[in-house]
């Protein structure tokens, strides 16, 4: 396998304004989603979140997702950035920007992008609480087993 530079993953703060500048002159709608580290999860306080990725596979999987979006919403152009490393409350963990001539495609492609990223991209997060405890987050924990395994 050939090493490649990271495109979608970054260990530096995400520059939202720069991403939003991606609109082409033919685009009338720009829908963006920013996933932000919040101060609570499942009723417990959150201090920090550490994001870990299987980086080369995550890059390839995001590529695959973008290819799917491009075939489903051919007029939309989608950009993805995902942070890795230790993030504080309020930091942007993931940013999606979808530009399209009309707003429907922009909204739909943006929503599909974040839904698919959360479902299949090999990224994990460890939640650190103010009391010093921490654990890996399992979004499937509350779901019936069947659902969890077919969510892919």
């Amino acid at each position: 396998m050939i090493a490649r530079l990271p495109v979608h993953l970054t260990d530096s703060p995400i520059d939202a304004a720069a991403l939003l500048a991606a609109a082409r002159p033919s685009d009338g709608g720009v829908c963006s989603f920013f996933g932000v580290v919040r101060n609570h999860h499942l009723g417990r306080a959150t201090a920090r979140i550490g994001y870990e990725a299987y980086a080369p596979m995550a890059e390839a999987e995001i590529d695959r997702i973008l290819q799917g979006l491009a075939s489903e919403w051919p007029d939309a152009q989608v950009v993805v950035r995902h942070r890795v490393g230790l993030l504080e409350v309020g930091d942007v963990a993931v940013a999606i920007v979808a530009c399209a001539p009309h707003r429907s495609e922009a909204f739909e492609a943006c929503r599909a992008a974040i839904d698919r990223i959360k479902t299949t991209v090999p990224i994990w997060k460890r939640e650190f609480h103010p009391d010093g405890t921490s654990e890996w987050v399992d979004p499937t924990a509350g779901l019936p087993r069947e659902r969890a395994m077919t969510d892919l």
Partner: protein, 81 residues
């Protein structure tokens, strides 16, 4: 033949390592490897049935036959975003 096995998140905590080079028998499938690993490290079974697996950085099914030099990972529930 040899494969390279990667561990992430909870699986890395259980295995106590990021990766290992591992000897597997010719013709072994992904599901055979999972059975072997859970025999050695029952802690991997936290997630119940076999988790999603990747061979050479692509999702693959339990029936996939492993090949010399493959990069293999079993993936705990992903939580990006």
């Amino acid at each position: 033949m040899r494969i390279r096995l990667l561990y992430f998140a909870t699986f890395r905590d259980v295995a106590g390592r990021d990766f290992e080079e591992r000897q597997v028998t010719g013709g072994a499938r992904v599901s055979d490897l999972w059975r072997e690993l859970t025999g050695e490290m029952p802690g991997l079974l936290r997630t119940g049935s076999m988790p999603p697996a990747a061979v050479n950085r692509q999702y693959t099914g339990p029936e996939t036959v492993l090949a010399e030099g493959d990069e293999v990972a079993f993936l705990p529930p992903v939580a990006g975003g």
